[in-house]
């Protein structure tokens, strides 16, 4: 094998009380997609932040093409041709594509920006990456995926040799992912090494040339992707066998929630569905097919323009989330950081947000009962956090999501609406959340689960509805569903047209 582009040699990093990285050594080759896998806390992000110059290792060195390099701050990393692409976009919506790509590197003449040169250079990058974007389009008119393309274009502007991508697909739809994957292919062909962090098995197996597994800060293995199976990879990450979720068709209970011809703007164009006690109804579909709008209407965030909502056979109207909650409906939104949690507050405060008025005595909050409740749920959901103190901002994605779930489960709702319940959380926590969803459904709750991850929809649901352009394009029972059939329904329009 030729000389490695990057060698990590005996990298260790200690934070007070946490051994983040313990003597990690492996190599990354040029022209490859090298996937880093591991549960939260395994050390992936710490290692990448060391590569980005954000953290300094306590010991060990990094070699770039054989030469030891020192990365004492993010600027020195950039100078070494290392580009980072994070999950959160850093492009500016108020500027156009060209100005975003050239931000901070605007060509100038006599102290003034040379706009012509700027747009030409930007166009050259756009063309090279085959993005098919007009450099004068304002970013505010682009889709999320297109903005991410701009983010990547900006990162690769200087022809970096190493590109780190941290869960780049977590907010993309199926089609948008394809665009990203094609771009990754072109970057690879240019000889760049792509270090890729993801929790999604399907894309890992699709993209990876090489996979490195980290666990608890230690390097477990680095091997060609072909050496791994899904099961083996999970075992290596978790360090134990993860049991597959039990799949068995269970009898449906009585219909709890019923929607008839719900219409809301262009996003929801007439949706009729029934949700029974004790079932998990999966909602699949391409991103932006109206799933989130459906959830928002069912939870009273949005008022439908027409159609009706029935609870236990009686018509209801939710004019606010408050009213929905009062009727026993709960909603876990798609983005826990911006919609699900108050990040600066602690576990206890976040868990009790929806129940503030239920735990009071003489107008004051009954903290003793509240603490008990929080302790119970923390234990039941296996939340790793010191309950009394931590601001939830510091928790891992999986623990954050469990806090959001606990907030609602503590209310003992009759209908639980989940929107992307495991987005961006690691394999172990994901399995736990899936298990939990099955359990609460078995306990008689009616669960509506929206997810853009097909394996999740397929493995957790009893019944699956597929949405397309604001309508339900088909319904499948779990045992007759597979990826092909779901995708066929999600894409049905394209097939008809083609």
């Amino acid at each position: 094998m030729s000389q490695a582009l990057i060698s990590f040699e005996h990298i260790s990093k200690q934070f007070p009380g946490v051994r983040a990285l313990d003597d990690v050594s492996f190599e990354v080759q040029a022209g490859q997609v090298h996937v880093l896998m591991g549960e939260n806390g395994a050390g992936k992000s710490t290692l990448m932040k060391i590569l980005a110059g954000v953290y300094q290792p306590d010991s060990g060195i990094i070699r770039l093409a054989g030469q030891p390099i020192s990365l004492h701050d993010p600027l020195s990393a950039a100078a070494q041709d290392i580009a980072m692409i994070y999950q959160e976009l850093t492009v500016l919506d108020n500027l156009d594509v060209g100005r975003n790509i050239m931000l901070g590197q605007e060509p100038s003449r006599g102290g003034l920006v040379n706009w012509k040169a700027l747009y030409m250079q930007a166009q050259a990058i756009v063309d090279e990456l085959e993005l098919g974007l007009d450099v004068r389009t304002p970013l505010s008119r682009l889709s999320l995926a297109e903005r991410q393309m701009v983010e990547i274009a900006r990162a690769v502007r200087r022809q970096p040799r190493i590109i780190v991508m941290d869960e780049p697909t977590s907010s993309l739809g199926k089609h948008e992912e394809e665009v990203l994957f094609a771009l990754i292919g072109r970057l690879k062909a240019r000889g760049a090494a792509i270090l890729y962090i993801s929790h999604r098995m399907d894309e890992v197996f699709r993209l990876a040339d090489t996979i490195t597994v980290l666990r608890d800060g230690a390097h477990i293995t680095t091997e060609p992707a072909a050496h791994f199976t899904r099961e083996r990879l999970i075992e290596l990450m978790v360090g134990r066998k993860v049991e597959a979720v039990e799949r068995q068709a269970r009898p449906r209970g009585a219909v709890v929630l019923e929607a008839r011809e719900l219409v809301s703007g262009r996003l929801l164009r007439g949706v009729t569905l029934q949700l029974a006690a004790g079932e998990v109804l999966g909602v699949a579909g391409l991103a932006g097919s109206g799933q989130t709008e459906l959830a928002r209407v069912l939870f009273g965030v949005r008022q439908p323009q027409s159609g009706s909502l029935w609870l236990d056979g009686r018509q209801v109207r939710f004019r606010s989330p408050q009213e929905a909650i009062a009727h026993g409906v709960a909603y876990v939104p798609e983005d826990r950081k911006s919609l699900g949690l108050v990040l600066m507050m602690g576990v206890q405060a976040n868990m009790s947000l929806a129940a503030l008025t239920r735990y009071q005595r003489h107008g004051l909050i009954d903290f003793a009962r509240l603490r008990q409740l929080v302790a119970d749920w923390t234990q039941r959901l296996n939340i790793k956090a010191s309950v009394q103190q931590e601001s939830v901002e510091l928790l891992s994605g999986g623990n954050q999501q469990k806090v959001v779930l606990a907030k609602w489960l503590a209310l003992q709702p009759r209908v639980l609406i989940l929107n992307e319940p495991t987005r961006g959380i690691d394999v172990g926590a994901k399995a736990e959340v899936h298990q939990l969803i099955r359990e609460i459904a078995a306990g008689g709750m009616a669960v509506l689960m929206i997810s853009s991850e097909l394996p999740e929809v397929l493995s957790v649901s009893d019944r699956i509805i597929v949405m397309r352009q604001g309508r339900i394009s088909g319904e499948l029972l779990a045992h007759e569903a597979d990826e092909t059939r779901v995708l066929a329904l999600a894409f049905a329009d394209l097939q008809e047209a083609g």
Partner: protein, 334 residues
């Protein structure tokens, strides 16, 4: 940093820890003025400081609620003034005392309702709305008084809101203490208080958790307005007359006290106890500089410098203590 909420059951003084910069500032000023002027270090002067700071304290409590809920109120000085003016005019025109006081409080509450309602109903930033309301209120006060002080001669009023003493302390200090306890309980022990933190911390998440975010904010504005009305009443009693100028910039001192206390300007993080520290710092500063016969314009310069310096010190302190903690968020995205 840690949320105050997660410290619910901790001792009262725990929230002071992150504000050590300001605590140091208070102590430093205290020592400095004790050495610099012979008039500073005596009990009567301490009582004076309390009395002089009462109006600011009430406004700063109100501002704490406003800022915690993620809003801002720039109309406090103007609203306090119009409340004081209307109360004084009502007394002058022979209205009963309780009614006159009610007019003052009601004026404040109405102004708060106006601030909150316009801001929430139409989505106009409170910065703009309260700036407009301030301008209107100030103009009305100046017009109806022809920009002359309205004297307050009612002995009961003066005694009830300024001069009466209990255990050596003037009555307005007792009001401040009483309000502090009530507001502290409201903020830290009731569902409403929790909602204020939640709405300021993440309005959308609060809304999706069934907290009526807009309503909570409007209530905060009304509560703050009533408090500011009360501040105007105290001010009129202390000076024996009501007019615009003495408390025209009340909101600026109030914001300074709140921010000095370490309450986050972006909402959701902070505490009333810390605001008390900020009030103390400004109170001691005002008092000490006057005792040293510092020119009143120079006082403003020094005050501005110290406010900025204390906040810088505080920020430095926070950064320094953060870098000593484990960086647990390093894995949060992975």
């Amino acid at each position: 940093m840690m949320s105050v909420l997660s410290r619910w059951r901790r001792p009262l003084l725990m929230p002071l820890a992150p504000t050590s910069g300001v605590l140091l500032g208070v102590l430093a000023l205290f020592v400095f003025f004790s050495l610099a002027t012979p008039f500073f270090f005596n009990v009567n002067n301490f009582i004076n400081i309390g009395q002089q700071s009462a109006v600011l304290a009430v406004a700063a409590f109100a501002m704490t609620f406003i800022i915690l809920s993620g809003e801002i109120d720039l109309s406090m000085g103007a609203v306090g003034a119009i409340a004081g003016v209307l109360t004084a005019m009502a007394l002058r025109d022979g209205l009963h005392l309780p009614l006159a006081v009610l007019i003052g409080l009601g004026t404040g509450a109405m102004a708060g309702l106006l601030n909150g309602f316009i801001s929430m109903r139409f989505g106009v930033p409170s910065f703009i709305v309260t700036l407009g309301v301030a301008s209107i209120a100030r103009a009305i006060s100046r017009t109806i008084t022809q920009n002359r002080p309205v004297s307050v001669l009612d002995e009961t009023y003066l005694s009830l809101f300024s001069d009466a003493r209990l255990l050596g302390l003037t009555i307005n200090v007792w009001y401040v203490g009483l309000l502090f306890v009530l507001l502290y309980v409201l903020l830290m022990r009731t569902p409403f208080g929790m909602a204020v933190f939640a709405v300021g911390g993440n309005r959308q998440a609060a809304h999706l958790s069934g907290i009526p975010a807009a309503r909570v904010k409007v209530i905060v504005f009304v509560l703050a307005g009533a408090l500011v009305g009360f501040a105007g009443i105290l001010q009129a009693a202390r000076l024996g007359s009501a007019r615009v100028d003495p408390i025209n910039n009340l909101e600026l001192d109030a914001i300074a006290a709140v921010v000095l206390g370490g309450t986050s300007f972006s909402g959701g993080r902070g505490s009333l106890v810390r605001t008390l520290l900020g009030i103390l710092l400004i109170g001691i500063l005002n008092n000490g500089l006057s005792l040293m016969n510092v020119d009143s314009y120079w006082q403003l310069v020094i005050k501005g410098g110290i406010v900025i310096g204390a906040v810088l010190l505080d920020r430095w302190w926070v950064t320094a203590s953060r870098s000593r903690q484990p960086v647990q968020d390093k894995e949060k995205r992975a």
